[in-house]
C-alpha cells in the first residue's frame, strides 16, 4: 500500500514510486514457481541431450512415424470432440437460455455441467465401457431389442469414434458453461429489433446473433481442443495405457521407460505445448478479427 505519511507540501509534481504491484507479487511468485518454471524446464530440456548440451535431436525425433501418428490421432480426436462438443453444447445452451425451456431446468443443467465438465476421467471411462462397451447396456439394448449390433457394424468404444464419444461427456458441459453467459448476453431487443425491421429468424441469426456469438464459440473451441488434447486419465482408463495418443505416450515416458529417452519425453511435452499454443494463438487471432466491434 502506497500511502505516504508526509504531506506533499512541495509544489513539484514528483511521480511517486508505486508499490501497488506488490499486491500481486505472491500470486505471480506462485505462478512462476509452480506453473511457468516447470513448463520452461520442459521446454528447455527438449533442446538438450542427456549431457546437457544444446541439441535439436529430440525435436527431430518427434518426427518419427509412430510419434507423428500419435500426434495426428490426438489432434484428430481433439478437433472432432471439440467441434461436436461446441455444436451440441451450443444447441443445448441455446435451448436452455433462449429456446423457451422451463426456467427451473436451468439451474440443474448448469450444476450438472459444472460436475460433468470436471468429472474425473477414470470413472467416466468405466461409465462408457458399461454403456457402449461390448456388453454395455446400450449395446445390449440395441442388439436385443432393436436387432442392431453396433459392434458388428464396426463400432468400437476403443476407437476414434468411441473415444470422441466419451470425450464429449466433458466437452459438451464445458461448452454449456462457457456459452450460457454469452447467450444470456443476447438481448431480447436485438431479436425484436431485427424482427420489426423485417428480418426473418434465419436472417437474424446469420446477420446478428451468430456474428455476436462467434468469438465466444471460437474461444470455446480452442479451450475444448486443449482440454481434449491434454486428457490422459480417460484414455488411460479406457485402454489401460496402450493407446498411442500423445498424453499417454508422455505418461508412459514419465512413469516408465518405453522410449528409453527422457529428453524425448521433454520434446513430446514441448510438442503438446506448441500445439495447444498454436490452437490458442489461432483463436486469439480469429477472435481479434471478429471482434472489431467490441471494446
Amino acid at each position: 500500500m502506497s500511502q505516504s505519511i508526509a504531506a506533499p507540501a512541495a509544489e513539484t509534481v514528483r511521480p511517486r514510486m508505486s508499490f501497488a504491484w506488490l499486491g500481486v507479487a505472491p500470486f505471480l511468485l506462485f505462478a512462476l514457481l509452480f506453473l511457468v518454471l516447470p513448463t520452461m524446464q520442459i521446454i528447455v530440456g527438449s533442446f538438450r541431450n542427456a549431457a546437457g548440451d544444446f541439441t535439436l535431436d529430440n525435436i527431430v525425433n518427434l518426427f518419427q512415424p509412430s510419434i507423428m501418428a500419435a500426434y495426428w490421432i490426438s489432434i484428430r480426436i481433439s478437433v472432432a470432440s471439440a467441434l461436436l462438443g461446441c455444436l451440441v453444447g451450443f444447441l443445448m445452451a441455446w435451448a436452455m437460455v433462449l429456446g423457451g425451456l422451463p426456467g427451473w431446468l436451468r439451474s440443474p443443467l448448469l450444476t450438472f455441467s459444472g460436475v460433468a465438465s470436471n468429472f474425473a476421467g477414470i470413472p467416466l471411462a468405466f461409465a462408457f465401457l458399461a454403456t457402449f462397451g461390448r456388453l454395455g447396456l446400450v449395446t445390449l439394448i440395441l442388439r436385443d431389442w432393436f436387432g442392431i449390433n453396433i459392434y458388428a457394424m464396426g463400432f468400437n468404444i476403443l476407437s476414434f469414434g468411441g473415444l470422441t464419444l466419451t470425450y464429449l461427456f466433458f466437452q459438451i458441459p464445458l461448452t454449456i458453461l462457457i456459452m450460457t453467459p454469452a447467450l444470456d448476453g443476447m438481448r431480447r431487443e436485438w431479436r425484436e429489433a431485427a424482427s420489426i425491421l423485417g428480418a426473418s429468424p434465419f436472417q437474424y441469426w446469420r446477420m446478428v446473433a451468430l456474428p455476436i456469438l462467434w468469438p465466444s464459440l471460437l474461444g470455446t473451441f480452442a479451450l475444448l481442443f486443449a482440454n481434449a488434447f491434454g486428457a490422459v486419465a480417460t484414455a488411460y482408463a479406457l485402454t489401460g495405457s496402450s493407446l498411442s495418443i500423445v498424453p499417454i505416450l508422455l505418461f508412459a515416458q514419465i512413469r516408465g521407460d518405453v522410449l528409453q529417452d527422457p529428453h524425448l519425453g521433454y520434446a513430446l511435452a514441448f510438442g503438446m505445448i506448441v500445439i495447444t499454443g498454436i490452437a490458442n494463438f489461432i483463436y486469439i487471432w480469429l477472435r481479434a478479427r471478429s471482434e472489431r466491434w467490441m471494446k
Partner: protein, 341 residues
Amino acid sequence: QSLDEIVEAAKKEGMLTTIALPHDWCGWEGILAGFKAKYPEITINELNPDAGSADEIEAIRANKGNTGPQAPDVIDVGLAFGPSSTSEGLLLPYKVSTFDGIEVKDADGHWYGGYYGVLAFEVNTDIVKDVPQDWSDLLKPEYANSVALAGDPRAANQAILSVYAAGLSAAGGNASKASEAGLDFFKQLNEKGNFVPVIGKASSLAQGTTPIIVRWDYNALADRDTLDGNPPVEVVVPKSGVLAGVYAQAISAYAPHPNAAKLWLEYIYSDEGQLGFLKGYCHPARFNQLVSEGKVPQDVLDKLPPAEAYTRAVFPTLEEQDANKNAVTGGWDSVVGANVQ
C-alpha cells in the same frame, strides 16, 4: 550384519517403499499384510501397483538423486530385467538367509527369482463359447476383436513374454526364432482384427472388451475367484508354447531405506513369505525345498493349477529373455503397429 541388526536398523528407517505390487497378483496382498503384522513399526509406501517391469527400473533411474517417497526400495521385475539392471548398476547386492534354497539367482545376490507361473488364456465363456486351446486358435475369425495382452508389450514383462510364447509355439519350439515369430503372430492377429490393443484385466474381461486375455495362470485363476462365476471364466494353458515366467526380487542401489529393503527380502524368502505366494496360485522360488520339507499344507497344494501343465513348461534362458525383450520392445510399434483407430 545380523538379522537382528537389520530389524533394528529397518525399524529406525520406519518405512519401506515398494512398487508394482498389485494386491491381486500372486498373493502380494497377504504377503504385504503379513509383513505389516510382523513389523508394525515399518509403514509400507506402495508405489504404482500397476506399473510394468520397465516402469520399475525407470523409477530407480529417475530417483537417483531423490530419497523422497517416490524412490522405490525394492522391485519385483521379470527375470530379464534382473541382469540388465545389474549391469547398469541399479541394484544393491544382498543375500537373504535362505539364499541357498533359491534356484534362479544372481551369484552376488543382486537379484533372485521369487516366484513363477505359466502363461495361460483367461476366457470369458459367456462370450466365447468355443474356448481356444492353443495359440494358433486365437487367429480364428470367431475371435474377432477378442484377444488382449495383460500389459503393454513395450514395457511389461508379461506381455513381452506373451509374444515370445506365441512365437515359440509358431516356430515349433525354436527359441532362436521365437521373438520374430511372436511379433509376426501378433501382426497377423492384429490384421485379422482379433487383437484388442487394450490392457486386459478383470473388468475388461467381464465387460466383454477383451473376452480372451493372455496372462499368467495365477492371475487368471485369481480373477476367476474374484469374479466368482460372473461371468464364468475358464483358464486354459495352451497346448504348445507353454512358457514359464520368473519374477525376480531386488533392492534398488539408491534405496532410501536399504535395511527395510533387506528385511523385506528376508520376509519374502522366509517360509511364511513363500507360502504367501502359493496362496496366490504361483510357485515360489523355494517350492521344491518347501515341498520336500513338508511345509506346504495339503489344501494349498490342492488348489494349485494342474501340475501337468508345468511339465511342458519352457524356462527361457537369461540370454534368450534379454534378446527377446530387446526384439519385442524395439519391434512392436513398427511390426505390429497395433493401435486404436
